[in-house]
Amino acid sequence: MTAVAERQGYRGAWTQALRSPVSRLVVKRLLLAIPIMLGVTILSFWVVSLIPGNAAQALLGPEATPDQIHTMELQLGLDKPAYERYLDWLGHAVRGDLGTSPVSGQPVTPQLIDGLAVTSELLGLALIGALVLAVPVALGAAHRPGGLFDRLSIFVSMIGLSVANYVLALVLVLVFSVKLAMLPAIGFVPLSESVSGNLKSLILPAIAIGFPLFSIYTRFLRGDLVDQQQSQDYVVTAQAKGVDPWRVLVRHTLRNSSFGLIAVVGLNLGVLIGVTVIIEQIFALPGLGRLLLQAVSARDMVVIQACVVVFAVVTVLGNLAADLLQTVLDPRIRYGDR
């Protein structure tokens, strides 16, 4: 056999993968996401419409005359029935137009994109940081279950699970900004202005989000690795080949645990996105969460609606991405377990 034949072999496997259940599964998952997305937009529309008080009145202030309020209601389309307003909104939304804020008079979409950029950078930093640290720590802990390092990792992750993000954020500010004066307590420096400034402004919020996340990942991965190491025969087969323990852990066990980890990352996205709202508020970061909270206090229904929908859609998409990644990577799903 030559390298060419090998490559052909692999290519054979690839074409098989493209034709076989994988593509069908991907399509199925994508289709399934559509009703969930629609449901999410309906839910957010409904929740926002629950907000009491007259939106027009709220905008115009207590001095407004009934006439003015009526004109404003017509302007906002509040006279139409809810489903009509929803369909109207949906029609614009799928074209990327999320409306114009009646409070600021600005179109919402550009604001959202700016906010989303900050939020995604923050989330990305926290998520990647947490994963990059969690994998080696979990491996080290699972290498010798019950050992000193394992106990230490369990202890640290228990703390990470029990500390509220906002408490952690304030403790970080207290230590690194107030006492040590190393990092800024609030504010955001865009990446385009200064790379180091940008990192400095995001490092504390990223830790506040990332540390509990790291704890969740470490706990899950460590548990799954130890479980597999102790109960799975293929681990023994690998050991019986004479493969060294670290290699067995990384090549065999971690490989199989990683699929579960991807699912955990996906499932946690919803909680994670909620957390950014509060962290952005504490560190005064101009992200989506802050936009949402400002809109909530200003009763800016259009912006609230847009933020809620974007958060929800990002969550659904994140879940979908995790799901698809798992489908594509895990051969048991890819080829349909018998």
């Binding site: 799975q232 025969d233 019986a240 493969v243 199989n256 051969p331 048991r332 080829y335």
Partner: protein, 344 residues
């Protein structure tokens, strides 16, 4: 003192008074409690026992594949080298290259997320300097050796795309990758259906012959062992209770437990519609072994003397047993299986 087999040349493995204990939930569990046997080059030895009799632990000890809490004493010399107490990095080189193992359930013993080709080449490259291509070539050779149809294509498949029998062939191919001198087949056919069982058994015998490899067949099935093995070790509660050639065993079984096992094999000569004999009672808790002979509570021939542990000795040439009342054990031939440790 040595069994008859050892007198011949080419002794490969010499196990003497092997003992393994675990800490299980704070208590010492005596999994293997005195196991001795010899194995020649190219020999097929069967180790028979119920689950919990220590047969699997005894075999895994040879591979150094025991949980960290295990304490091993006694001796197991493989080709003159002591395996007991060998440090982990050293014993790792023996695994696969000198002693390999095939496990019970081929579905579970293959990594479900790895192509089988890589699982084999991993084993090959662990024990040789072959590069990727050469390792692949060798892997396909091995797959052909174990009679896996369409080996080139199967190389790229995942375990779940194959049948149980095919998977077990792959597991055997992995075990052969390091060209071991001893293959331990731990219940290697138990999880398979009867037809496949026979095919895998035939494959193992063929490989034994072609490669001159010794095989330890671990099974709960004395019938299977007796029809293939040259020598048989019967284990009960962690210790060897009878050790003889398969022929000797059938000609004159000396240990009531073995007798009961033989009686439990269904035979055509038995009257139809009769109840199958069973051994009453449960094997003892390895953490709380009874004083004396461990089979005493279930043995119909037990006397007061059995409160003292019977030694495992070579009472006849090549025939070892541990029983005070061996003379009272009736022969297998004849049909009165009703009054000797076996209840119908």
């Amino acid at each position: 003192m040595t069994p008859a087999a050892a007198l011949q040349s080419g002794l490969l493995l010499e196990v003497r008074d092997l003992r393994v204990t675990f800490t299980r939930g704070g208590r010492r569990v005596h999994a293997v409690n005195g196991l001795s046997y010899d194995l020649d080059e190219g020999e097929l030895l069967a180790i028979i026992g119920e689950s919990g009799s220590g047969k699997t632990v005894g075999a895994r000890t040879l591979m150094g594949l025991l949980p960290p809490s295990a304490r091993v004493s006694g001796s197991a010399r493989f080709d003159g080298t002591e395996l007991v107490g060998m440090p982990e990095p050293q014993i790792r080189h023996w695994r696969g290259s000198e002693i390999a193992m095939v496990f019970q359930d081929p579905t579970r013993s293959l990594n479900p997320t790895m192509r089988i080709g890589r699982q084999i080449t991993e084993a090959i490259r662990q024990h040789s300097e072959l590069d990727r291509d050469a390792a692949k070539e060798r892997a396909i050779e091995l797959l052909k050796l174990v009679h896996l149809p369409a080996a080139e294509r199967r190389f790229y498949e995942y375990p779940h795309q194959m049948s149980g029998g095919m998977r077990q062939r792959v597991v055997i191919a992995i075990a052969l990758a390091g060209e071991p001198r001893l293959l331990i087949a731990d219940e290697a056919t138990s999880a398979l259906d009867v037809t496949t069982q026979a095919q895998i058994m035939a494959l193992l015998l063929e490989l034994q012959e072609r490669l001159g490899m010794a095989i330890i067949l671990i099974s709960h099935d004395l019938g299977l062992a007796a029809s293939y093995a040259q020598n048989v070790v019967v284990m009960y509660a962690g210790r060897a209770v009878e050790y003889a050639t398969a022929r000797q065993l059938f000609a004159g079984v000396r240990m009531p437990y073995t007798r009961a096992l033989l009686g439990a094999i269904p035979q055509l000569e038995r009257p139809s519609h009769g109840q199958l004999p069973v051994i009453t009672g449960q094997p003892p808790d390895p953490a709380a072994l009874p004083e004396g002979c461990p089979f005493r509570p279930r043995c119909d021939l037990a006397t007061d003397k059995c409160a003292e542990s019977p030694p495992f000795l070579e009472h006849e040439p090549g025939h070892w047993w541990a029983c005070w009342n061996a003379a009272a054990v009736p022969a297998v031939v004849g049909d009165d299986v009703d009054d000797d440790g076996v209840r119908s």
